[in-house]
């Protein structure tokens, strides 16, 4: 049966035969880079369209339905518009930082792609500290936002960037704690180990209530870390026009936009990997027949299905809940999520030590 890992193996074999191992690895790096950029472009198009359709249906509207069949080409047309728009740099801006910021935001998102397992044995870099790598790199994305806000020479941008900084720094804690609870259960930081540990059941089911609480906290923290409503104070249209990207236009704005959606995809992919078993099919204990049927569905479909389910959940939040005030936002983190997360990690540790998970 064809699978992504088999295709990558064949390409690896062919390149090694043609170029020798040194040049083959260089060529593979280029191919991987191109694949990541391609995935970014596709994700941008798909997620923007998905968001517009989901938001429309939740608000009893129709959504884009004019460009292409059923409006499917809408985001392509938008991209074309953004490409031909002028990328303006304001007069008083710090030109170097201003032009660098979108790329920093983009590269931070790109780096996070490395340890994610897209399918069985299909992973860019299975580093043994994968989870630590993810939590470390995801804090970098705030630098791009702060850079953009500072260099724009605009009070709204700076306010948005500062809010974003306060928000990401505080929500990193509870995201870290909820990720840690899965690390405690698995006993490994390696992404492939975490997925392998979910062979006989996903952590959200196996870990009982503590894992469920950790999952809820993770989803809330992930929504906050990607600066999406109800935590979109960094952009807050009604208060700050567009927050940190007020002064951006054209393709530089598009890069921020893309980085937001890619970040959403990545946090959902991480959530799917940690709590929903990554590419692992849905198995129920000893139902051999059922498990066998589930194995026939390709692992990449399992992974993307779970990820898009979480993305839909986050979109559902965005189009249901009103935006929080900054004090409410910090209240929620420091008075609710963090204490709950701390108690929860003790529970998880007890569960893990006693071996109560199955």
């Amino acid at each position: 049966m064809w699978s992504l890992s088999k295709i990558s193996g064949l390409i690896d074999h062919w390149l090694n035969g043609k170029l020798g191992s040194g040049w083959a690895s260089v060529a593979e790096m280029v191919i991987v880079g191109l694949c990541v950029i391609g995935l970014f472009a596709i994700l941008g198009l798909v997620l923007v369209l998905m968001e517009r359709k989901v938001s429309a249906w939740m608000q009893i509207r129709l959504g884009p339905n004019r460009v292409g069949p059923k409006g499917l080409l809408q985001s392509l047309a938008d991209t074309l518009k953004l490409l031909v728009k002028e990328g303006l740099t304001p007069d008083g801006a710090d030109k170097f930082l201003f032009n660098l910021a979108p790329f920093v935001a983009m590269i931070a998102a790109m780096l996070l792609m490395a340890p994610i397992a897209f399918a069985k044995d299909f992973q860019i870099w299975d580093v043994n500290i994968g989870v630590l790598y993810i939590t470390a790199i995801s804090s970098i994305s705030v630098i791009g936002i702060l850079m953009a806000g500072w260099s724009s020479n605009n009070k709204y941008s700076l306010l948005g960037a500062m809010r974003s900084g306060a928000q990401i720094v505080s929500y990193e804690l509870s995201a870290g704690l909820s990720i840690l609870s899965i690390v405690v259960l698995t006993g490994s930081l390696k992404v492939s180990d975490i997925i392998a540990a979910q062979q006989n059941g996903w952590w959200i089911f196996k870990g009982h209530v503590p894992a469920l609480i950790a999952f809820v906290i993770f989803i809330i923290a992930a929504t906050a870390e990607t600066n999406r409503a109800p935590f979109d104070l960094a952009e807050a249209e009604s208060e700050l026009t567009a927050g940190f990207h007020t002064e951006y236009s054209g393709m530089k704005f598009a890069l921020f936009f893309l980085a937001e959606y890619v970040n959403v995809f990545i946090v959902c992919a991480i959530g799917a990997t940690l709590f929903l078993g990554g590419w692992m099919p849905f198995h129920i204990g000893s139902w051999e027949g059922f498990n066998h049927i589930m194995d026939y569905i390709p692992s990449s479909i399992w992974f993307f299905g779970k990820t898009f389910f979480l993305i839909f959940l986050i979109m559902w939040f965005r189009w249901t809940f009103p935006r929080l005030r900054i004090d409410q936002l910090l209240n929620l983190e420091w008075k609710y999520l963090l204490p709950i997360g701390m108690v929860n990690i003790i529970l998880v540790t007890i569960v893990a030590i006693k071996g109560w998970h199955f």
């Binding site: 249906w57 939740m58 129709l62 559902w316 249901t320 809940f321």
Partner: protein, 158 residues
């Protein structure tokens, strides 16, 4: 005690969030609820809400009679001078003089569809119509005379 309130807070929050999500989830899955009108496409079958205010018109019955007594209550009620009622005096068969409307002039270009004239009218002579495609090339076309030529007041309307 503090802990009880704290936990109550959390469960209450989760409950109210789920209520909201159930509503949007319902709309997401029930596409027949969509209220968008695809206007130029469905021009023939367009259904406007009953209370939609398009323009002021005067109702006439089959024998070209309206209910306007020319009392100018609408003109007085109008906040921006949209209505101008020109009155005349009809001579009744008994030789009595009676005030009647000669020309009910309505400036659509000034009207804000506030509905005050309709509320002020004691005889329900005027009402809001649903027509809304008002664009014309000449501004003068927006000044309308609402009583039809040759129309007269309905019997028994005082």
């Amino acid at each position: 005690m503090f802990l009880v309130d704290y936990l109550k807070d959390i469960t209450g929050a989760i409950k109210s969030l789920l209520t909201g999500m159930r509503r949007t989830g319902y709309y997401f899955t029930h596409h027949k609820e969509i209220i968008t009108q695809q206007y130029p496409d469905n021009r023939d079958t367009l259904k406007l809400p009953e209370r939609f205010r398009g323009e002021v018109v005067m109702s006439h019955n089959e024998s070209n009679e309206h209910r306007c007594t020319g009392c100018t209550a609408c003109e007085l009620a109008c906040p921006n001078g949209t209505i101008k009622v020109v009155t005349k005096f009809d001579i009744s068969p008994e030789g009595k003089k009676k005030k009647a409307v000669d020309k009910f002039i309505y400036h659509l270009e000034l009207c804000t569809m506030c509905n005050l004239c309709i509320e002020a009218c004691p005889t329900d002579a005027i009402r809001m119509a649903q027509s809304f495609e008002h664009s014309v090339y000449d501004r003068a076309e927006l000044t309308k005379v609402l009583n039809k030529p040759g129309s007269k007041i309905e019997e028994g309307v005082e």
